[in-house]
């Protein structure tokens, strides 16, 4: 089954064994016509016998396409990105593409090196969650003709195809839901990163508050510092949110609800609240973001915004496939998928805010 010296069998080996030309063997195996059925069967049998495996690098060198997607992700430990990886890998594999994965961990330097590496590898296309520090690495990729789809975070300057979650809508729905439950003062707990997803969620929060005529005093947007270390990318740290939440709870006036940027932060908040003797949702409502697998099973179960990870991943892969095929698709250049609010116990029942609202029914608007 194996040639001496550990070398693999090549088309030439098969050709020599059958007294055929290399080209004939190639065409026979790749199913092209112009080959007699008898010869084709012979070639296939010999290839099977010696365990022939085509060398895709040699093939790629001449065809120009490596049949590979580059996938650039900031952090696989983020459950949303983990699902995206699964979803995209599945779609890619279904179309005979391999996946070249790079983790940037929110580092612009890693990102630049990733783009360079994709360029070297002659990937057929790239799906990128950009760090959003600079658009240059991906501009370069597009300039040499590598189709690139931006995922979850857009870089509008580039004019590339983009698919992501409608974070603005998510932030809006989360906030509007809290308001509909009677919350009047609402606070946002978000990670401290300069990315559009977070900015969009905050924009959605502001829109909901403004529409409801509610005030957003200073300190309504609370930032949770991002912990990083020089090793592999970390999952979100509830601990960081816990500490920030503790500081928040020392403030004079307690908000009616807290909208957090991800469900891990809700965990930290839960603990801080419990330590302060505060009940969710009675004393304070909590709305999460991401609907991570644990969120339905917290006590109280967490109302949260569910992200369409699978759909976003599939669309990203499809967009890239279309772009590679070259056919201009009928799809919009930018695509935002709406997240859905999952109502659970952390905003259920008659909350303090709702009771207060009822008590004040007699008073004018």
């Amino acid at each position: 089954m194996r040639r001496a010296g550990g070398r693999r069998h090549t088309l030439r080996d098969i050709a020599a064994a059958l007294n055929l030309s290399v080209n004939t063997v190639s065409r026979a195996l790749s199913g092209k016509d112009g080959i007699g059925e008898k010869t084709r069967a012979l070639v296939r049998a010999e290839a099977e016998r010696v365990g022939y495996v085509p060398n895709s690098m040699a093939r790629s060198l001449v065809t120009g396409s490596a049949m590979t997607f580059g996938l650039v992700i900031t952090n696989p430990s983020n459950p949303f990105y983990a699902q995206l990886i699964s979803s995209i890998e599945l779609r890619a594999r279904a179309h005979d593409y391999s996946l070249l994965l790079t983790v940037t961990d929110e580092s612009a330097e890693n990102e630049a090196r990733a783009a360079e590496s994709l360029l070297r590898s002659s990937v057929s296309g790239a799906i990128v969650v950009p760090v959003q520090a600079s658009a240059d690495p991906w501009r370069r990729l597009g300039a040499v003709g590598v189709p690139t789809v931006l995922l979850n975070r857009d870089l509008p300057d580039l004019g590339y195809r983009f698919v992501g979650t409608d974070n603005e809508l998510g932030g809006y729905r989360a906030t509007a839901h809290a308001i509909s439950r009677g919350a009047r003062s609402i606070v946002v707990l978000e990670e401290d990163l300069p990315i559009t997803t977070i900015a969009d969620r905050i924009a959605g929060y502001r829109r909901a508050m403004t529409e409801a005529g509610l005030a957003m005093p200073r300190g309504s947007i609370i930032r949770v510092p991002t912990r990083r270390h020089d090793q592999a990318a970390l999952p979100w740290q509830p601990q960081q949110a816990y500490q920030v939440a503790r500081r928040m709870l020392r403030r004079a006036r307690l908000p009616d609800a807290v909208v957090v940027g991800n469900d891990y932060f809700a965990l930290g908040l839960y603990r801080a609240l419990a330590e302060h003797g505060l009940k969710v949702p009675d004393d304070l409502m909590v709305i999460g973001f991401g609907d991570h697998p644990f969120s339905a099973f917290l006590s109280p179960s967490l109302t949260t915004v569910r992200l369409p990870a699978e759909e976003v991943g599939e669309i990203a892969a499809d967009l890239l496939l279309e772009e590679i095929a070259g056919g201009r698709s009928a799809r919009p250049l930018k695509q935002l998928i709406a997240p859905t609010l999952v109502e659970r116990d952390s905003t259920a029942g008659a909350s303090r805010a709702e009771r207060r609202g009822q008590a004040g029914d007699a008073s004018p608007a």
Copy 2:
């Protein structure tokens, strides 16, 4: 910066522009000697000017090495594997290797295709979490000389290098801890998969029980069915464990402690217990496995076995690097990293079992 027709610049372009031979340009850029300093500077400047990017497929074709790791994982949504991906990618990148990722989702067919794909791509080596249905795909990979390291699940027949968690020890420590807290009847809740990691954990459980002289009646090992769908790989489902736990709680005699196979299952168990009006740890202790980021923040916080994900990933990468380098390393062929028990509230305080134990102090052993 770009050649007409979207084609990239090649060594030949630079050679033509400078009236040099292709080889000279190649050697100048790759830093080999035998090139005058003046010429080298000239070549470098020209390469920089036109934005030259080497074609790694052409290079790989002639060198025989693609400078690529194949990483075969069952499910990125498993936080342990997500961390492994990060860790391995980081290590690979540090040594100028790219990562070709395949997701098998516990499917033997996917696994066979993955091995075939790695073979085609001429990866320099592979790190594999095998499905453990058949060793053949990976046997084939090794047979053609691709160094392969098994990760987390061994295939002893192959005699490949292996690094993973010591699951037997993990199961032992979890169980022994429960016993030390006074538990006498202990039940295991494990996923229904035919893999060694689970079998090992159960073996550790049995050893601890046997050492303590405790009985393991029928029904001590409870299996949670694995939900699968034909789409992307799913995270663990607490819901499945919840349903199994409900059935368990209807049984006549309640165990003192439950050792669960992963922290997500503990979530489902928590809910089932709460619905039955049972308190953790007072009525029943719970010990998890994995120390997922949420586990410290549950209420009560979850005692669990922390897995050395980062260390395992790094060792796997290092093993592969050594194997690729060819130098027989001093490391053992098989390497098991010990997990550590993280004691938290789900086994804290004076439990029902402990109180009962104290009440029975007078009675003989």
